[in-house]
């Protein structure tokens, strides 16, 4: 069976983007005058990872660019070349080209070849052109002589015994110089001999791709080929000759000199400190490395560089050291690998990887679904244990209450993943207000309050459009022209306040303006003209709700901004779809306040379960005003308008669940039923049910996933007994009821 590689593409894209970002960051950080070997190594590794990934997934154009890039970087980090500003430019350019290529692959097209060819040429020229200038730093000198390394390993331990992997390793090592297979020794270990000018680190790096560093014994062979390790007298060979690397402190040459900053007496490009870096590197080395090792490395590198600036950068492997360094007084403050002397420093810039991870929203949603299942499972367990004697089954009961607490905590923690500050929406408004006000010739200032208020990411995205409508409406209809404002004794500049806050389990977003306010008479006149049904002596609230009717606009002049009468009904629908509600308060001459109430999340709801016949429905707790057991004489009938119930001095429409949902069962008598008084978009209404059952926290499931929208129902949930219960949409119920009546 062929493996579909495309399923891994996304992983590669993300990794490559991360590697590119790392590379760019390191490049910008790199000091051309005194390049840090570890930074160069880190850049090399980033490029190498991209190349490996690109090759694996068949993105050959990216592999090609990274290959040329890598060649140049390799020479740099081996200090065969010194970096120049031109090179850094070329690297950054390469990074840009790679980014574009990556983008092209993500969108499934090919990146144009021209700039790639030009770039490759430039990089190659840099890699070869300047290599003969004789600027080879002193530390490269040990590399000039060939040295022999003896490599012993247990064939079974490497590459899980795969012969191909060993052969590949053999070939890669062969690229460093000449390699010979000496067969197996008396302990059954495979022995290879490598003759190379490369240093130990280079060999170890290649080994790291296939095995753990400690699985391989790498030792220099033939001491006659080795430049003796002579502390203080001459520069060290740059490679500690045996596996047991000396600790930094004792190994320091007695006559080591303090290194003046920036001058880079890089005696020990691979001194113990550097070795330790490589050790760390092994821990986190991988092809797709946004690896922790990188991060560590970068931090150590940074620390080393800071040390260098303080004048004791022994291990900052600075190239460009004078060819003939003179002996020097002892170090004032040696830095040991064990770290005591490394002063804690405030990092100069934020860590390479920040403390957050990118996770797809699908995964978070899946997590939320699973927690939802857990909540349901708990409800089922609680249901099953409801009849047990609490004393006899004390442990079960204690366990259940623990489970409840834990799952609630878990639920909150998971929910908080999806929570985002509302500033994500609010931040667009300064611009919206500025542009809108300028277009209308009005002066408006905007104040944002409570931008840190958090709510569900899904809600934030859906809140943007309705809020934009409301703010534009406020500027267009609410705020008066400057001269009108002055005449009315108000400041010339109008003010719009966007305020978000948490209030009793919901999020409240308010759009407040200090404009003219809604004109009651005008709205009523317009409603009459449009033939809208009007209650007699309507309350202000009822009048304000009229502007949410489709096709309603009182703007005298239709402008680009608003007035076409498509705004407010869409606003209300959008918000109701989020299980939220909109309310308007307005005082003529003083301003308008539009309040949007939203649930904290789309996923979970506090609800009251009610019974109709044998069926259970859920009413969202946020809409419930009160529940009453009515007396028969409270019911009245209005001809053509169905039933109403008198509560205090108000007559509220009665919505019978039996009637709207055609239960086919007889309705309970007026004295047997329960009325739940709910707040709807059109004022209060009484929902007639058989019985109130219990209060639950329910997980909202969409009916539309596998079915379609059902009028009067906003969603479904799963009850403790495993059955499905419908969640009622009171606004739709009232509309349904009116149609029936």
């Amino acid at each position: 069976m062929a493996i579909d590689m495309s399923q891994f593409y996304q992983v590669f894209f993300e990794e490559a983007q991360e590697n590119l970002a790392t590379m760019e960051g390191l490049l910008l950080e790199l000091d051309v005058e005194a390049p840090d070997l570890e930074t160069l190594n880190a850049i090399f590794r980033a490029a190498h990872s991209i190349k490996g990934g690109a090759g694996t997934f068949g993105f050959n154009d990216m592999a090609e660019v990274t290959h040329v890039l890598e060649t140049l970087l390799d020479r740099l980090r081996k200090q065969e070349l010194t970096p120049t500003a031109e090179m850094i430019d070329a690297f950054l350019q390469a990074g840009d080209v790679l980014k574009l290529q990556l983008q092209a692959h993500q969108e499934g097209r090919e990146y144009d070849e021209l700039s790639k060819a030009a770039l490759c040429e430039r990089l190659e020229r840099l890699a070869h052109g300047t290599s003969e200038t004789g600027q080879a730093p002193a530390s490269a000198s040990p590399g000039e002589g060939l040295r022999r390394w003896r490599l012993c390993f247990d064939p079974a331990a490497i590459g899980r015994g795969a012969a191909e992997e060993r052969r590949a390793l053999f070939e890669s090592l062969g690229e460093l110089g000449t390699i010979a297979d000496l067969g197996t020794d008396d302990q059954g270990r495979q022995v290879w001999r490598i003759e190379t000018s490369s240093r130990r680190a280079a060999i170890e790096e290649i080994l790291a791709f296939v095995c753990e560093p400690d699985q391989v014994l790498l030792e220099p062979e033939g001491s006659e080929d080795l430049i003796a390790h002579q502390p203080g007298a001459s520069p060290g060979p740059g490679d500690w000759p045996s596996e047991s690397r000396p600790r930094a402190e004792p190994a320091l040459p007695a006559g080591a000199q303090p290194i003046q900053e920036g001058e880079g007496y890089g005696f020990f490009p691979d001194a113990p400190g550097a070795e330790s870096l490589i050790d760390q590197e092994h821990e986190g080395f991988g092809f797709f490395g946004g690896s922790p090792g990188m991060d560590q490395l970068a931090q150590v590198a940074r620390r080393a560089r800071q040390d260098a600036e303080q004048g004791y950068g022994f291990f900052s492997a600075a190239p460009g050291a004078p060819p003939d360094p003179s002996p020097a007084p002892p170090s004032p403050k040696p830095v040991s690998r064990d770290g005591g002397a490394i002063p804690p420093q405030v990092p100069k810039r934020p860590a390479v990887t920040d403390s957050s991870i990118r996770v797809s929203v699908d995964k978070v949603d899946q997590l939320i679904n699973l927690v939802g299942e857990l909540v349901i499972t708990h409800a089922m367990l609680a249901d099953a244990c409801a009849n047990l004697d609490p004393v006899a089954h004390q442990r079960i009961m204690a366990g259940l209450s623990n489970l409840e607490r834990n799952s609630r905590d878990l639920q909150e923690a998971v929910m908080s993943i999806r929570m985002m500050p509302i500033s994500f929406v609010f931040n667009r408004f300064p611009r919206v207000v500025r542009d809108t006000a300028a277009a209308l010739g009005k002066k408006v200032s905007l104040r944002l309050i409570g931008e840190d208020t958090e709510l569900d990411k899904g809600l934030i995205e859906r809140l943007a459009d309705p809020l934009t409508h409301l703010v534009r409406n406020s500027i267009d209809h609410g705020i008066e022209r400057p001269e009108v404002r002055l005449a009315a004794g108000k400041p010339e500049t109008g003010e719009i306040i966007l305020r978000a806050s948490h209030r009793s389990g919901s999020v409240v977003v308010e759009v407040i303006d200090d404009g003219a306010g809604l004109n009651r008479d005008k709205i009523l006149a317009k409603a009459a003209r449009l033939g809208m049904p009007l209650p007699e002596n309507p309350s202000d609230k009822e009048v304000w709700q009229l502007i949410f009717q489709p096709g309603f606009s009182t703007a005298e002049q239709i402008t680009d901004i608003s007035g076409r009468g498509v705004g407010m009904d869409v606003v209300r629908r959008n918000i109701e779809e989020m299980n939220g509600r909109v309310e308007i308060d307005s005082v003529a001459g003083r301003g308008t306040q539009i309040t949007i109430r939203l649930p904290l999340t789309l996923a979970i709801l506090d609800g009251l379960s009610v019974r109709m016949g044998t069926e259970i429905f859920i009413l969202p707790l946020t809409v419930i005003h009160e529940s009453i057991q009515p007396r028969p004489q409270q019911f009245k009938t209005v001809v053509g308008k169905g039933r109403v119930v008198q509560i205090n001095d108000d007559y509220l429409p009665v919505v019978s669940l039996h009637q709207v949902f055609n239960s086919g069962l007889p309705e309970p008598g007026p004295s047997d039923c329960i009325l739940v008084i709910v707040e709807t978009g059109e004022g209060r209404a009484a929902i007639m049910v058989d019985e109130l059952v219990a209060q639950h926290q329910v997980v909202i499931k969409s009916l539309e996933t596998n079915y379609r929208r059902v009028e009067g129902i906003s969603g479904a949930t799963i009850m403790g007994d495993g059955r499905v219960a419908m969640i009622l949409d009171v606004d739709a119920l009232v509309r349904l009821n009116r149609r029936l009546g």
């Binding site: 299942e373 055609n662 499931k701 009916l703 596998n706 379609r708 059902v710 129902i713 499905v724 419908m726």
Partner: protein, 164 residues
């Protein structure tokens, strides 16, 4: 599976699940079938057509249940412990089909399926891929995905159906 069916399977044939609706035997692509379960704990959907029995909770997923016998006026409709629901997965949309019984899984080659004549089945021929004669039985091969997403069934919002 018989030798003949084995050889059919190796020649690029597809497998079909056959089930009974009244006296007729139907076959649907087995790749669209997610599982088969009993009929249990269905919650009614208000104001839905009669053939939509309601929804069930299938491991946290809300799945609508359709009774094809009611939709096509076939046979006696009774629900007992032997009533079978075929759970279908149609491009990610999951729904359950109440049938009189699941009979078999058969492997059929393309050339074994004959085009359907314009009559003979209660289903609109637009949703019928063809007829198969197998051991004296006639199996009607149904394009179940097309049928279930059709306007006739009303299972999908009109808007989402056109958008899909």
């Amino acid at each position: 599976m018989s030798d003949e069916q084995m050889s059919a399977a190796s020649e690029g044939a597809r497998e079909y699940l056959t089930f009974k609706l009244g006296d007729e035997e139907y076959g649907i692509d087995i790749l669209k079938v997610q599982e088969i379960r009993g009929y249990d704990a269905v919650t009614r959907i208000a104001n839905a057509p009669e053939f939509i029995k309601g929804v069930i909770n299938m491991r946290g997923i809300i799945v609508p249940i359709i009774d094809m016998r009611l939709k096509f006026n076939l046979g006696q409709v009774e629900y007992n412990e032997f009533t079978v629901v075929i759970i279908l997965n149609l491009s990610g949309r999951i729904l359950g089909l109440v049938v009189d019984g699941v009979s078999d899984v058969v492997a059929l080659r393309r050339d074994q399926i004959q085009p359907a004549p314009d009559f003979g089945a209660v289903l609109d021929t637009a949703y019928i891929e063809g007829l198969v004669s197998l051991e004296g039985r006639m199996i009607i091969i149904v394009d179940i995905e097309r049928l279930m997403t059709s306007h006739e069934m009303g299972l999908v919002d009109q808007t989402s159906a056109t958008a899909a």
